[in-house]
């Protein structure tokens, strides 16, 4: 689909909803503020519904679906690392101990970000698949299929790797 009038309209709606909602937050103590917040939230939801409706019009992207749960696990592990660091502030008193606990927390977060998440996203990465039609349903159902595969093959043929 690329950029379109619908996208522009829903983005405009999103901005209006956001501004109205923020007006509500600014005056949340008053009745009018609460009303504004509610109206803004409704407009925001409406814009998101609109975006969701037109999403299929974009056409097939080369990205294939990958394990959803693993992605959230990765983000969860990253967050857990932060919580470990915060816990260290309460449990440990000395500087050395706090540094060690913070390093453990950072290590845990890095494991989630650099270990779990890339593995989750790359598990079914489109570039791993052979150029056969069956494995790349997202792209092969479109007329651009040949071009995609040609270019991918050609890129491989460039042979210049780091």
């Amino acid at each position: 689909m690329a950029a379109s009038k619908s996208q522009g309209s829903y983005f405009g709606l999103f901005l209006v909803g956001g501004i109205v909602a923020c007006g509500g937050i600014a005056y949340a103590a008053t009745g009018a503020g609460k009303l504004l917040l509610l109206v803004g939230a409704v407009i925001l939801v409406a814009s998101m519904v609109g975006f969701f409706k037109i999403k299929p019009l974009e056409g097939e992207t080369p990205v294939l679906s990958s394990p959803e749960a693993m992605k959230w696990v990765g983000a969860g592990v990253a967050t857990l690392g932060w919580l470990v660091t915060l816990g260290g502030l309460r449990v440990v008193q000395g500087n050395g101990g706090r540094i060690v606990v913070a390093l453990i927390g950072i290590g845990l977060s890095l494991f989630g970000i650099l270990g779990v998440l890339p593995a989750a996203f790359n598990k079914t990465a489109f570039w791993k698949k052979p150029s056969g039609a069956a494995t790349r349903a997202g792209v092969t159902s479109r007329s651009g299929r040949a071009t995609v595969e040609q270019e991918m093959t050609a890129s491989t043929a460039m042979g210049v790797t780091k």
């Binding site: 690329a2 829903y10 056409g59 983000a75 969860g76 950072i106 698949k129 210049v160 790797t161 780091k162």
Partner: protein
């Protein structure tokens, strides 16, 4: 007869009008204050007498009319604004003028530095577009252009209030007293700031000259963080999703962490509340600006996936060369120029409170950029055989990013070391992210800003030398920020808590927001759009309409 009568009427009208105007003028002239008949004249303090004597010796109008080619005549006691012209200058008038001048110097300094930082957007646009292919030039430039508007709008309506709503107390800018509401929670028997609650739309009590100055300065910093993401996700990111991400980041993600670090939030209170050094210290934003931008870029890059043709089936990567290396290097120079606003400007003043350190900060910035370039050039030259131009530019930027947090606290030699390490680190990080993580970052933004932003935050904990004195305290803790190498391990602990927060909270929040956007809107353009180039499908116009495109297939075969 008729003519004479007409002239009498005219004369009468003029006279009446004159009387009326004179009457109105008299009515507006205040009556002279009644003088007490027998009050003795108040004694004039010696200092005031001296001031009045100096005023009496001030050059007369006739002298001033001769011109002042040497610049030695104007600018004297006669230029001090007095409250009572009849009574003459008083000590109070002189004091008020000194205070006004201090605030004026700090306002002008902060605003001009903010203007320099704003111009960095042009540098980012050139670097990012130069490193992408010509078929996506318009799209990449437009992302860099529109991110300014998206960020500014979001920051004005919500972000600024979250970040700075509780940041009152900055003496450099007159106190910023309207920004006096921070939402807090009680934990460990202490009060911790979570987010600000005043300053929405810059309305109400926020309609204040000092607040406007800090808004402008903080806004351009926020926008720098936003524009980092556009480079990392270039050449395959839907324009509408980019717009949504930018608005949300400017309204929420960035301001939240910035409040914790700079707005009186809990990270800045680590020193006062639990004795970790002077609290999380990030002078100009290696963490607040660059790590937040770099980590958000990593989150979106993971979701959006690599460009078609970047990776081969065996996982090896193909270089996708940018279209204009001259734009890249000129853009890097513009960024280096803007950085003189970024780091020295973060004193938020040039007068009093130790702000004369601005010279040292500017030199530290300059040196780190220089050694960062050397680090990258030497690394590429020795390991790959060529002093790669794009990596040289990234080395300069990496050095600048790394020195951003410690610039206010470190010596020149330390700045040189920090920059050199950053120059090498960016090369190693680019290779790691591309070849190990299989994350496609066309411009190296994750490495330049994310990796080196974290290194910058960490380096404060090592290299801060305890010589800076910004009003005698930092984050409400008496003394100067001092790192491990100068005897304070607790500052390193505070910096590590900051890094952990960036990785565990900021990254995760950005990831969650963008995953939701992925499901609702979708981040990636179609394969067909990507292959044709994003300029026509997304923007409706080629960046370079008169260029003859050489199809990439043919290019590949020729290669």
């Amino acid at each position: 007869m008729k003519a004479r009568r007409r002239s009498h009427v005219l004369a009468f009208c003029i006279a009446a009008a004159t009387v009326a105007v004179a009457g109105m003028a008299l009515a507006q002239t205040p009556a002279p204050p009644a003088q007490p008949a027998s009050a003795p004249p108040a004694p004039v303090p010696p200092a005031t007498a001296e001031l009045r004597e100096a005023a009496s010796k001030a050059p007369a109008a006739a002298d001033l009319a001769k011109g002042d080619p040497g610049g030695t005549v104007i600018g004297n006691v006669a230029d001090v604004t007095v409250t009572d012209a009849k009574a003459g200058i008083t000590l109070g008038d002189a004091g008020n003028q000194i205070g006004q001048n201090k605030i004026a110097i700090n306002f002008v300094w902060t605003l001009v530095c903010g203007f320099l930082v704003m111009f960095m957007q042009a540098g980012f646009a050139m670097v990012e577009s130069g490193l992408t292919r010509v078929k996506n030039a318009n799209h990449t430039y437009m992302m860099n252009f529109f991110v300014y508007g998206c960020g500014l709008l979001a920051y004005w309506v919500l972000g600024f209030a979250i970040q700075m709503g509780g940041a009152a107390g900055n003496g450099n800018l007159g106190g910023l007293n309207p920004l006096n509401a921070e939402h807090t929670v009680s934990l460990l028997g202490k009060t911790w700031g979570i987010f600000g609650e005043t300053g929405y739309f810059l309305a109400g009590t926020s309609y204040d000259v000092g607040v406007m100055v800090i808004f402008l300065f903080q806004m351009v910093f926020m926008d720098t963080a936003l524009t980092i993401v556009t480079g990392a996700c270039a050449e395959r990111w839907k324009f509408v999703t980019f717009s949504l991400t930018s608005v949300i980041m400017g309204a929420l993600t960035y301001p939240l962490f910035a409040n914790w670090a700079w707005g009186g939030g809990w990270l800045s209170q680590l020193g006062a509340n639990v004795g970790l050094g002077k609290g999380y210290a990030d002078f100009a934003g290696s963490g607040v600006v660059h790590s937040v931008g770099g980590l958000t870029a990593l989150a979106v890059c993971l979701i959006v996936g690599p460009r078609i043709g970047k990776y081969n089936r065996d996982g090896t990567s193909n270089p996708i060369v940018g279209h204009d290396i001259s734009a890249v290097l000129i853009g890097c120079f513009i960024l280096a120029f803007g950085w003189f606003g970024f780091n020295p400007g973060s004193t938020l003043g040039a007068s009093s409170n130790g702000n004369l350190r601005i010279g040292a900060i500017a030199v530290a910035t300059m040196l780190a950029g220089c050694t960062g370039t050397f680090g990258a050039i030497l690394y590429m030259w020795i390991s790959k055989g060529k002093p790669d131009a794009s990596m040289s530019g990234n080395g300069l930027l990496a050095g600048l990013v790394a020195i951003t947090a410690p610039s206010g606290f470190v010596s020149a030699p330390s700045a040189a070391i920090i920059g050199f390490v950053a120059g090498i680190l960016v090369c190693v990080s680019v290779s790691f992210i591309e070849n190990v993580l299989k994350v496609d970052d066309p411009v190296g933004a994750i490495s330049v800003h994310g990796t080196n932003g974290l290194w910058g935050v960490l380096s404060v904990g090592f290299f801060a030398d305890g010589t800076s004195n910004y009003g005698g305290s930092w984050n409400g803790v008496t003394g100067s920020v001092t790192g491990l190498f100068y005897g304070d391990a607790s500052q390193l602990a505070a910096q590590l808590v900051g890094i952990s927060t960036l990785l565990g909270f900021v990254f995760s929040l950005s990831f969650a927001i963008n995953m939701v956007l992925e499901h609702v809107v979708g981040h990636r353009v179609s394969a067909e759009t990507e292959l044709n180039g994003l300029d026509i499908p997304e923007m409706g116009q080629l960046g370079y309409p008169e260029f003859v495109f050489r199809p990439e297939i043919a290019y590949s075969k020729a290669a």
